[in-house]
């Protein structure tokens, strides 16, 4: 069973990417939807397998780790695989109705979408440093292609900016890989982790780790390296923005987190950890503030991503030089934050797309009075906002709870302020939009009603992010395999 | 009767509340005013006929207990009578404007007044007291004139202050007594370390209602501006509620408090004489009467003071105070009602009426064979100096005599003002009836009403003959001095 699940996971997206390259948009849509269902089942199946039997390593080509490439199929990885399936499913389905079939280049959405999915799965499962590099590049180029699909000057400028940033980040990562390989002669993360633990000091490899994290931070748009993200996410088509914000930035973060958790304790330093944390904190605060200042709806959401990404980097200080129980708390908190942000942000972008579709403008003020006519998309937006604000019972809340506990237990109380302030600031920008929709204006009184399915999808995502809080325990239970050595 | 009494007890309080339902529909509103005279009747029956009885209402507030006992009976009777005759008067007096509103407030005030008399648990006593106070506001400001509003404002301000003082006092004493019954309070207060504070609070709180000097400011403002029947009940009945409050809560007979006694006696004298002095300067009949009320209440305060100072005498004294209250209530009610009467055109009729109007007044002054004489004699009887040992004791007879003179002077002033100010013409039947009933009650009915039992035996006729001079000389003195003054004024 497992091999077929793995096949489904790794190769069907690739196969579908090739398949959907040929037909026109409408047929591609049908094919994609079939594939989506299959993928979803596969992801769920794998998740259940791992939940039951625990994680395992999967050697590709039959070659074991240092020589060949092994995939690490553990709780965390499959959780992210499932998350990807859910979000990609939603975005793909949404895009089928959202994108206009008349525009010729939209047909290329499908293959890019599938390649992206494949790349993401590859990254979640990857345990080989170089393989991760290729996966990252795959994702980056897909994303750039998707952003450029919007087709206008702004989109191209954003795409170029994005591409350059992504390439720079990847190169930095590769440079780090080069140094690490030079030091240890191995590319397998697990192998290196074992070597590192042998009590020697490896200053050169430390530089390598630093460069890798720097590059990945650039790709994740950590403040102050975030300049490329808002234009790219803000200008792309809504389903694309959703995919990018929900999943793509998480891929590079995921790699950074795995590196840090495997090697950080030995190769990293307190200063580095705190510096990354401070950057994250600044991202939270300034990102939220910038989001509050934006006049265009999707820009608000995009800057919100910058802010939310900031939270993720609190992982670094909270797992360095602290007891294992705190590490555990921080890991769980960050993982939940990733999941809930992915769901919420996808919901938010899709809902924002619907809103823009119905009011015909992307300005925040244009939303005046829309609460009367489009409560559904607005409601999804608000529910997603609840999760971003970290209010209960959302996943964002449980994540915040764990992080608060972790920072308290680690004695690094200064992150408490960041977490709480960040929540308040995010409330400020979410409610700004909400508020705009409540203004009773005499102006526009007729709004376009998007098809039901477009409205339902963000709602489902938002509800999932909201209810994640209630099921955090079982989700975390499956996830808790990852950071111990599963086998 | 014993079996009926508890039901009657309940009925006498609940009936007024029931009457409120009449305000709900137009037909009821039309009939409403005709019910006013009848509403206090169950209470009257209760006071006249029922033996001591009680009614437990465990579901009420903190557990209710209503009862009729010796002291309460007297108050019940005077209250019910005054309300009843005033109600009768009101039937004729009321105008169309805001009639229903008046009736509602009348009924509520009545309910409060009757209720507070029978209530024997703290919560319901205080409830009814508050109800009476606040509903009374409706009666005071009913006319809606500038004066009425001003009077109402002051009434309300002082009433609220008084309520709060009472609340504080009750809270403290209830906490000490750890009981919800009024009857447990005096003992607890007497034993308390904070006795003086509690006594002060209660004295002041009820003193507002009783027109205690310095807390009386509202009274001469509010009593005159209210519609006449309302003035009658304010002065005749409601003012006694404060008195009753003292009697029920202060530690009479438990402990002697000479300091408080002296102070009260002094205040009483101040009220009796000062009230009279101010009253003489008034130009409106009702204002004169209002000051007369202060003055009369001063005398009662004096007795209360004595009772406070001398624990042994307290029982008797309080009975006499109740008797005095009975007398004063009926007389003052009648006097107030008479202010609204138009005097007949014919001279003979006018004189006759004038004489009848004067009768309760003279009774107040202590004319022999009137209710006043009985009350005054009883008062003299118990306030004999040898029984008392506090500082003011030896002055008591002098104070009483001075009070009598002052009273007479005020009555003369009232008669004068009334004669000048009253309209000429015919009166509605109900006005006649109401006033006649009040006169009847004051002059005749007084003698058959149930007096407090501790009052010495009714060998009054004999004593009255004996003490006639003692009663009359202050009156004559007053008349004489009034005549001199009158002459002086006329010459000028």
């Amino acid at each position: 069973m497992t091999p077929w699940l793995m096949a489904g996971l790794l190769f069907t997206p690739l196969a579908w990417a090739v398949l959907t390259l040929f037909p026109a948009f409408r047929l591609g849509r049908v094919l994609t939807r079939l594939g989506i269902l299959a993928q979803f089942l596969v992801a769920a199946g794998l998740w259940m397998t791992v939940a039951q039997d625990g994680g395992f390593y999967y050697p590709l080509g039959g070659w074991k780790a240092p020589l060949g490439i092994e995939l690490r199929v553990d709780g965390l990885a499959v959780t992210f695989v499932v998350l990807t399936a859910v979000v990609a499913c939603a975005c793909g389905w949404h895009a089928g109705d959202y994108l206009s079939p008349e525009t010729g280049r939209h047909r290329y959405f499908w293959p890019l979408f599938w390649f992206l999915w494949a790349g993401l799965n590859g990254v979640w499962l990857g345990a080989d440093l170089f393989n991760l590099y290729v996966g990252l590049e795959l994702i980056s180029l897909c994303s750039v292609g998707l952003v450029a699909l919007a087709g206008n000057v702004g989109a191209l400028r954003a795409a170029i900016r994005y591409l350059l940033a992504a390439l720079l980040g990847s190169l930095a990562y590769l440079l780090g890989v080069a140094l690490i390989y030079g030091q240890f002669g191995s590319l397998s993360l697990a192998g290196i982790q074992a070597l590192v633990a042998s009590a020697e000091s490896f200053p050169g490899a430390g530089v390598g780790l630093f460069i890798m994290i720097l590059g990945l931070a650039l790709k994740t748009a950590l403040f102050p390296l975030h300049g490329w993200l808002p234009p790219a996410h803000g200008i792309a088509k809504s389903p694309v923005s959703a995919l990018l914000s929900a999943l793509v930035v998480k891929a590079s973060f995921y790699i950074a987190a795995r590196l840090w958790l495997a090697l950080g304790e030995e190769l990293g330093s307190f200063v580095l950890a705190q510096a990354v944390g401070v950057a994250g904190a600044l991202a939270v605060i300034l990102g939220s503030w910038l989001a509050f200042c934006q006049s265009r709806l999707k820009q608000v959401v995009a800057y919100s991503s910058v802010a939310q990404i900031g939270y993720l980097f609190l992982l670094f200080p909270l797992t360095f030089g602290v007891p294992d129980s705190v590490v555990q708390l921080a890991q769980q908190g960050i993982a939940l934050q990733v999941i809930s942000h992915a769901l919420a942000k996808a919901a938010m972008f899709l809902a924002a797309g619907n809103l823009i579709l119905s009011v015909g403008s992307n300005r925040v003020e244009a939303l005046a009075g829309v609460s009367r006519f489009l409560p559904f998309s607005l409601f999804s937006f608000a529910l997603a906002g609840v999760s971003l604000m970290g209010l209960p019972p959302s996943g964002g809340f449980t994540a915040k709870w764990l992080l608060l506990q972790a920072s308290l237990a680690s004695g690094q109380w200064w992150w408490l302020a960041v977490l709480l302030l960040g929540g308040l600031l995010s409330a400020a920008y979410v409610f700004r939009i909400y508020r705009a929709s409540f203004v009773e204006s005499r102006g526009q009184d007729q709004f376009y009603h998007p098809p039901r399915v477009l409205e339902a999808i963000p709602m489902m995502l938002a509800l999932m992010s909201l209810c994640l809080g209630f099921v955090s325990e079982p989700v975390l239970a499956v996830m808790s395999l990852p950071f111990e050595e599963g086998g | 009767m014993n079996a009926v009494a508890p039901h009657l007890l309940l009925l006498s309080v609940v009936l007024p509340f029931g009457a409120l339902a009449l305000a709900l529909w137009p037909g009821g509103r039309f009939f409403y005013r005709y019910t006013l005279p009848w509403l206090p009747l169950p209470a009257l029956c209760l006071g006249m006929l029922a033996p001591d009885s009680s009614l437990e209402l465990p579901w009420l507030l903190n557990g209710g207990l209503w009862l009729v006992d010796d002291l309460r009976r007297t108050f019940l009777v005077v209250t019910a009578l005054v309300w009843s005759v005033s109600g009768l008067f009101a039937v004729g007096y009321l105008k169309r404007v805001h009639q229903t509103r008046f009736c509602v407030f009348w009924t509520l005030t009545l309910a409060g007044n009757l209720g507070l008399i029978v209530a024997a648990d703290i919560a319901s006593f205080y409830s009814f007291f508050a109800l009476m106070t606040f509903a009374g506001y409706g009666l005071v400001v009913h006319e809606g004139t500038v004066d009425a509003n001003r009077a109402g404002r002051i009434y309300l301000a002082m009433a609220v202050a008084g309520e709060m003082a009472i609340l504080a006092g009750l809270l403290m004493s209830a906490e000490l007594a750890d009981s919800a019954r009024l009857s447990d309070l005096p003992g607890a207060i007497a034993r308390s370390e904070q006795r003086d504070l509690i006594v002060l609070l209660l004295l002041a709180g009820f003193g507002v209602k009783a027109g205690l000097p310095l807390l009386h400011f509202w009274l001469p403002l509010a009593h005159p501006v209210a519609p006449t029947p309302a003035s009658a009940v304010l002065s005749g009945a409601m003012i006694k509620a404060g008195l009753l409050g003292w009697m029920l809560t202060l530690p009479f007979g438990e402990v002697s408090m000479p300091v408080w006694g002296n102070a009260l006696v002094l205040l009483g004298v101040l009220g009796a004489l000062g009230g009279a002095a101010l009253g003489l300067g008034q130009r409106r009949a009702k204002a004169v009467l209002a000051y007369s009320s202060i003055s009369q209440m001063g005398l009662m305060v004096l007795m209360v003071g004595a009772a406070l100072a001398e624990a042994r005498q307290a029982g008797t004294l309080l009975a006499v105070v109740a008797l005095y209250g009975l007398h004063h209530g009926l007389a003052k009610g009648s006097l107030f009602l008479s202010t609204a009467l138009a005097l007949p055109e014919r001279r003979s009729g006018r004189w006759l009426l004038w004489g009848l109007i004067a009768l309760p007044g003279l009774s107040l002054a202590g004319l022999p064979f009137t209710s006043g004489s009985a009350a005054k004699l009883a008062m003299k009887d118990v306030l004999a100096p040898p029984d008392y040992h506090f500082a003011m004791a030896s002055w008591l007879p002098a104070f009483m005599s001075a009070g009598a003179v002052a009273t007479m002077l005020l009555i003369l002033r009232f008669l004068q003002v009334q004669n000048q100010g009253a309209a000429r013409g015919d009166n509605v039947l109900c006005l006649w009836l109401g006033w006649a009933a009040s006169l009847l009650a004051s002059v005749l009915l007084f003698w058959v009403l149930p007096w407090p039992e501790s009052v010495p035996d009714k060998r009054w006729l004999h004593e009255m003959l004996a003490g006639a001079w003692g009663l009359t000389w202050p009156m004559l003195l007053a008349i004489g001095s009034a005549a001199v003054v009158a002459c002086l004024f006329r010459q000028r």
Partner: protein, 498 residues
């Protein structure tokens, strides 16, 4: 026992489901909406009644599962919960009826009633929450679901009020969260438990616990509008009358007060809170709030604004009661939870009636309203007297218990606060009553509507009268079984197991 676990969930779900159904209903399906609204309210009332009966005979309703490792989600119906749940279920019904009439023919009703039900669901959750974590979940849910109600009108003023509301409550929520997390960090997950948890706390805890207490109470104090955290409340009165009614009487303000009750009673425990000297501070804050609210109310010319300041003052009675250490004072505070709710909702209903029927918003526009709207004015009068604390109305019971409680613990000055506050209450309520009943109307009403025979719409007419009757009944029948006072005494006897 299955039904034991499910009843609280059902009670929560009725309004949650109602809200979801209403959200999906189109604007013009008024009849269905009304049916759903009232049906859900009735069902909920019935469920709560069943639970109250069960709790009275000592039955346990409990639902618990792990939401996070070591963090439980607990719904539990205990006596204290039922006090609040009963209040909100009852008043929800009335407010719904009222709101239906109030919003007749105004736009956005689906939205309004959806959030309205959501708000009640959160309130129910707050009542039933079995630990601080669960409490917080519903506490924040309440914040969110009331925001749309506050800004419902969409006017700049409403939006501004909404913004301030959010700033205050979300900040408060954050502080509360911090407190909860700190507590969790210190001692782990704590269910609410009669008598509290820290009876035998060691010195190492005693150092930290006061800070935690401070965080918790200042977080909750925002919603409870303790001075100086009260700024949002007077502004929030721009919301439609039923919302203000709900906000002030049941939901938001009470949630804060109820939270403080839970923290003092069932987390810290009355005795340990006292022995740590925490309550002495709180009692001062509460007293200041009481006096400040009353004093500020004097200066308001807008009726609802005056009522809002009155709320600030009145809600602190609850807190005051807790801090009196003794069972009687505690009972007084708790019973005020119900009493203030019923009285204040009456007042807001009436204020809404005046605004809706006569167009009168300011106090000086109310001259002679008693003649035009006797029913409403009677209700208003009763409730106002209740607020003043005039016996035998609901407010008196509170003040009496508080006074006795304070004296029993030797805090005589609290009686002074009570008295002073009552005087102030009288000072700002009685002039209104005077205007209602004794002023003559000379000018036409600002904006009058007529509804045929009754003085106002049927939907608007009965709710205030019913709550006014309740105001009386609570006071007069205080000694009856199942009266709020009796129930509170049951709670206190369980809490303070002396």
């Amino acid at each position: 026992m299955a039904s034991g676990a499910l009843l609280p969930v059902f009670a929560l779900m009725t309004s949650l489901l109602a809200s979801l159904i209403i959200f999906t209903l189109p604007e013009d399906r008024g009849r269905v909406r009304t049916l759903v609204n009232i049906g859900a309210a009735l069902i909920k009332l019935a469920l709560v009644a069943v639970m109250i009966r069960g709790v009275a005979i000592g039955q346990e309703y409990l639902l618990a599962f792990d939401m996070l490792p070591g963090v439980e989600f607990v719904l539990r119906a205990d006596a204290l919960a039922m006090l609040f749940a009963g209040l909100s279920a009852l008043l929800w019904l009335l407010t719904t009826i009222y709101a239906i009439g109030y919003l007749e023919a105004s736009p956005n009703r689906s939205r309004f009633f959806g959030f309205f039900s959501l708000c009640v669901a959160s309130t129910m959750g707050i009542a039933l929450a079995g630990n601080l974590f669960t409490f917080f979940i519903f506490y924040e849910m309440l914040t969110l679901s009331t925001y749309p109600l506050v800004v419902h009108r969409g006017t700049p003023k409403a939006l501004r009020a909404g913004r301030n509301y959010l700033i205050y409550t979300l900040t408060g929520g954050a502080v509360l969260l911090l407190g909860i997390v700190c507590l969790h960090g210190l001692v782990g997950d704590l269910r609410f438990q009669e008598g509290g948890h820290f009876a035998g706390a060691g010195p190492e805890l005693r150092g930290a616990l006061p800070w935690v207490f401070f965080l918790l109470v200042s977080g909750l104090g925002v919603k409870a509008a303790l001075v100086p955290l009260h700024g949002w409340l007077p502004q929030a009165m721009v919301a439609p009358a039923p919302v203000s009614a709900l906000l002030h009487a049941v939901a938001v303000v009470k949630a804060g007060a109820f939270g403080i009750v839970r923290v003092v009673f069932e987390v810290f425990g009355l005795e340990s809170a006292q022995s740590m000297g925490l309550l002495s501070v709180l009692v001062v804050v509460a007293s200041v709030t009481i006096l400040y609210g009353s004093a500020m109310a004097l200066y308001q010319v807008d009726l609802k604004r005056r009522l809002a300041f009155s709320t600030i003052s009145q809600v602190s009675y609850i807190v005051l009661g807790l801090c009196l250490f003794g069972p009687v004072g505690a009972a007084g505070g708790l019973v005020h939870l119900v009493n203030q709710g019923i009285m204040k909702i009456t007042l807001f209903f009436c204020a809404g009636n005046y605004a809706e029927t006569l167009g009168a918003h300011r106090i000086d526009e109310l001259d002679g309203a008693g003649k035009r709207m006797p029913g409403t004015s009677v209700a208003f009068t009763i409730a106002a007297f209740g607020m003043i604390g005039a016996p035998p109305l609901a407010g008196f019971i509170t003040k009496w218990m508080l006074g006795i409680g304070a004296l029993a613990e030797g805090m005589d000055w609290v009686v002074g606060v009570l008295i002073l506050s009552s005087v102030l209450n009288a000072a700002y309520f009685l002039p209104i009553l005077h205007r209602l009943w004794f002023r003559e109307r000379t000018t036409p009403w600002p904006k009058e509507y007529r509804w045929g025979r009754l003085e106002t719409s049927v939907w608007l007419f009965w709710p205030p009268l019913m709550t006014a009757v309740m105001t009386m009944a609570i006071g007069v029948f205080a000694a009856m079984p199942f009266s709020p006072l009796a129930w509170v005494i049951l709670i206190v006897s369980r809490e303070v197991a002396l």
